[in-house]
């Protein structure tokens, strides 16, 4: 039969209990700190309540640009450019500069500002519809550049491509037109 715990025994166990409690707290703090360092603790998030809630914060699909039918082609094209994902690679202002490791173009996405010089509107439309699946590599032995241009044929309507081309041609600085 187990003997009753005397006050003396309890006092002897006190350091163990205190060490366990403080050790646990220290571990918990360490865990929080570690999670915080790695961005955030997992229990702080929760799923969206319902499917109906979700679309409210998803960006509008590209064809939402057509809603503003009163805007001119350049304005509509700009909306297509920003909403469809063109800006992800070509930049918000079309100046490129997004890194594309091992791409022949200085490992960057080229600027679109001067496309009006090198392409007719029809050529531009064709380029957009087809996309560029294979990006030339700076080092032929290296990995393929991660950013390629998708085919927009099924992603954008004919009108959207038309508007997009109008916007891209409008990027050409006025001074540049006069020089040429």
């Amino acid at each position: 039969m187990k003997e009753a715990l005397t006050p003396h025994d309890a006092a002897r166990r006190l350091p163990t209990i205190v060490a366990s409690v403080f050790g646990s707290l220290a571990l918990f703090y360490g865990y929080l700190a570690w999670n915080s360092f790695l961005w955030s603790p997992g229990w702080a998030i929760r799923y969206a309540g319902s499917d109906a809630e979700r679309p409210a914060f998803l960006t509008a699909p590209p064809n939402a640009a057509q809603a503003n039918s009163e805007a001119g082609p350049v304005a509509r094209g700009r909306t297509v450019y920003l909403r469809s994902g063109c800006a992800i690679c070509h930049g918000l202002d079309g100046k490129g500069g997004i890194r594309n490791p091992n791409a022949q173009t200085d490992e960057e996405i080229p600027s679109l500002v001067y496309v009006a010089e090198g392409y007719t509107p029809e050529e531009l439309k064709d380029r957009i519809r087809r996309g560029v699946a294979d990006i030339a590599r700076m080092n032929p032995e290296g990995p393929p550049p991660p950013l390629t241009m998708p085919s927009w044929h099924e992603r954008l309507s004919a009108q959207q491509v038309e508007d997009l081309v109008a916007f891209l041609i409008s990027l050409m600085p006025k001074e540049a037109k006069e020089i040429w």
Binding site: L27, W39, W43, A48, A56, G85, A87, I88
Partner: protein
């Protein structure tokens, strides 16, 4: 210290560690895809190119899966695509991201007013998100009225109640 007592302490610590690490995970949910902001920002992709409303609309927006599919596909060697992302894209489903930043319904908040007109950087409110390698799970800087007021006072912009509250 006796061996028995050492074993007791070690056992207690191990149990505490197990509880601390695994118990929260029982109740935790994760973002559906292991999105890495840093990888995208390191390529110099502007925030507003994916969050297309960040400079021009009330809501910054979270990109739809169609945007992700522009770069991510199983047949592409690069960029690396998480399996769960490919599963959503191939199923043609939207990714059920969990919205972390919210303002209450009684608050008028416009990203456009703060970024385009006010000239604030995304990091002012969203912190060091560009460096985050794990999907966002909590507000880096909590959206609280006191914080809004501090910033408005510091920048000498309106603190009129009706400027922000419906």
């Amino acid at each position: 210290m006796s061996a028995k007592r050492s074993a007791q302490i070690a056992g207690t610590m191990a149990m505490a560690l197990a509880v601390v690490v695994f118990l929260p995970r029982l109740f935790a949910t994760q973002q559906p895809v292991a999105f890495n902001h840093k990888k995208h920002v390191d390529l110099k992709m502007p925030c507003a190119s994916c969050h297309s409303g960040a400079t021009g609309d009330e809501r910054a927006g979270i990109p739809s899966s169609a945007i992700c599919s522009l770069c991510h596909a199983r047949e592409k060697e690069t960029p690396e695509s998480p399996a769960e992302l490919l599963a959503f894209l191939e199923a043609g489903h939207e990714i059920p991201w969990v919205q972390v930043y919210r303002v209450p319904d009684y608050v008028n908040f416009s990203h456009r007013r703060h970024t385009l007109l006010g000239g604030l950087e995304c990091a002012t409110c969203h912190g060091d998100i560009a460096e985050s390698t794990r999907p966002i799970a909590r507000q880096d800087m909590q959206v609280k009225m006191a914080r809004c007021l501090d910033c408005h006072l510091e920048r000498k912009v309106t603190t009129d109640c009706m400027a922000c509250h419906r």
